[in-house]
Symmetry: C2
Subunit: 334 residues, 2 copies
């Protein structure tokens, strides 16, 4: 690996000039002819700057970490995309971490944060950040931005409450009266339930209690079973988590309930998979790509010592994607 010293020797100039050519520094000036001579030498020797040496000198690694709790959840696809793109615009690489590596005792975050491996960290907080972890995080020098959701840390969210409201209002407009909310535990689910409540209230309907069965396919199946045991069975449900929707569909099949004829289903978070299930699932698309971009920008605000522009992303708004799993109620039952 050729170094700046080699280039300097080959071009017959000093180290400083090479560095100036590489960085476009204005402090050290040079003739255009010298510049091209250096450039040629770089080309010939195949010079590549050593990122490690740069990092040491500048105390900045041009790398940020993103920690997610279940990396293969497809909702993270667009989020990752947004983060990668925005990071690239800042000249940074993204170190993707799974929450499994993140238990309080683990060395992973400590290495990242204290050992100067990354310039900052994005964490998707849901179900991840207990008090232990939070205090450990707070004691580190590098900035941390929480994606959905933190109380006393800089954070940035998508509008989960609104998503719950949109899903519910859609079902209300389809003349459903008995709508239940199948959710999980945690803040996000709570927010979406709040939106559900709001839409129910606005329609003069009484919200059913929050059926908190957790996340994922099994949770969806459990939720549906519980919902169906109620005195008056619901004609529609709002499913908190998109992977839970898969479980809802499966449980419905197992219970002999046809969707959407006997039960309408709307999911929150839209992923490609929903298009390919049968029935194709009507879902609320969340601006996850924008969340990723905004997260990186806010993190770089923090890194630069600027006040962070956190908050709830309202542009674009959550958007309903209508497919086949929800239909108008024709037979009114009450």
């Amino acid at each position: 690996m050729a170094t700046q010293r080699d280039v300097a020797r080959a071009a017959g100039v000093s180290l400083a000039v090479v560095s100036a050519v590489v960085n476009g520094t204005s402090h050290t000036r040079m003739k255009e002819s010298t510049r091209t001579r250096v450039l040629q030498a770089m080309q010939q020797l195949g010079y590549q700057p050593n990122q490690t040496a740069r990092s040491l000198r500048l105390n900045q690694t041009d790398m940020i970490a993103m920690i997610l709790n279940k990396l293969d959840n497809p909702v993270y696809g667009p989020l990752r995309h947004g983060v990668y793109e925005a990071a690239a615009e800042h000249g940074a690489t993204v170190l993707l971490g799974d929450a499994e590596t993140m238990r309080s005792g683990s060395q992973f975050l400590t290495r990242l944060l204290s050992q100067g491996t990354v310039d900052g960290i994005l964490i998707r907080g849901e179900g991840l950040l207990d008090d232990d972890v939070m205090t450990e995080l707070s004691s580190h020098p590098k900035p941390i931005l929480i994606l959905e959701h933190a109380l006393d840390h800089p954070w940035i969210d998508v509008d989960d409450r609104r998503a719950g409201e949109i899903a519910t209002r859609f079902l209300v407009n389809l003349r459903h009266r008995h709508i239940v909310f199948v959710g999980g535990s945690g803040y996000l689910s709570q927010q979406r339930y709040l939106g559900y409540q709001q839409a129910m209230d606005a329609a003069g309907l009484t919200p059913a209690p929050h059926l908190a069965t957790g996340f994922g396919e099994q949770a969806g199946a459990d939720g549906l079973r519980q919902a169906m045991q109620a005195a008056t069975a619901p004609t529609a449900i709002v499913v908190n988590n998109i992977m839970s929707a898969v479980g809802v569909l499966a449980a419905a099949r197992d219970l002999g309930i046809t969707i959407p004829d006997q039960l309408s289903v709307v999911g929150i978070h839209d992923v490609d998979l929903m298009r390919h299930l049968r029935p194709a699932v009507t879902a609320v698309r969340m601006p996850m790509y924008q969340l990723g971009r905004a997260g990186v920008e806010a993190l770089y605000d923090l890194i630069a010592g600027r006040p962070s522009a956190g908050g709830v992303i309202t542009d674009p708004e959550p958007e309903l994607v209508v497919r086949d799993s929800a239909t108008a109620l024709t037979r009114i039952r009450d």
Copy 2:
């Protein structure tokens, strides 16, 4: 951030001793009492070694990259797990990259490889490595290991041919005679088709041509439609890609074909989702976790300059997970 110099000052020893305590170097010896004094100083100052400085000095970053082509394909879950675990055992962090960042022109790999950001790279090759990329990669100094599949680079694979054979033989044993293989393009699909052929031949059946429609849900749907247009419709299909299986199920529903009564389906690669579809999909589980572990070990062989122990992973073998999407053919049609 406290440095070794601060610790040395606090403990009243030289830099060399602190470094020796940190690394357990045997060259520089010290009294046990000195060691504990240094340790205490480290504790008090909250000393954390600076990874960047270490990297520069040692010319090794303790970081490896893994590049995948579609990061949210759930088949990568166990692969990632294996890679993370094995990497952790080597004291390394994993930098996860998506292939989108990898087009020939992109700076991503160049930065990683030439700028000394990582010690080595694992790449899942399928559909990714055209000749351009390969020659670009070869010109770099850090070792590269290809997961499924390369010709002139160190590589390591799971037994795709065997998976095709296992899936097909299972259907043959269920008395199916008209079995088609819905595949994609590329080496992996080809290998699995070879296994299909082999099982068909062994049963004295004539293999159908390889229906190569690509990857993902849409490909599965397309494949099924094509298969059903044949003169004699198949009673069973082997689906190359697990996400394609979702598409097959959807297309079957759309075409009014019930699975498994009218059509048996076996997928290659098992993911959790398959359990939760209806019907639950019978699939061949591939040892992806082991592929990840073995990949890291082979990469570290390369990094250490040892001959790499690549090849096909045969332990464990691909394993059939029987669920509901395939059933015995009762009405023999020919």
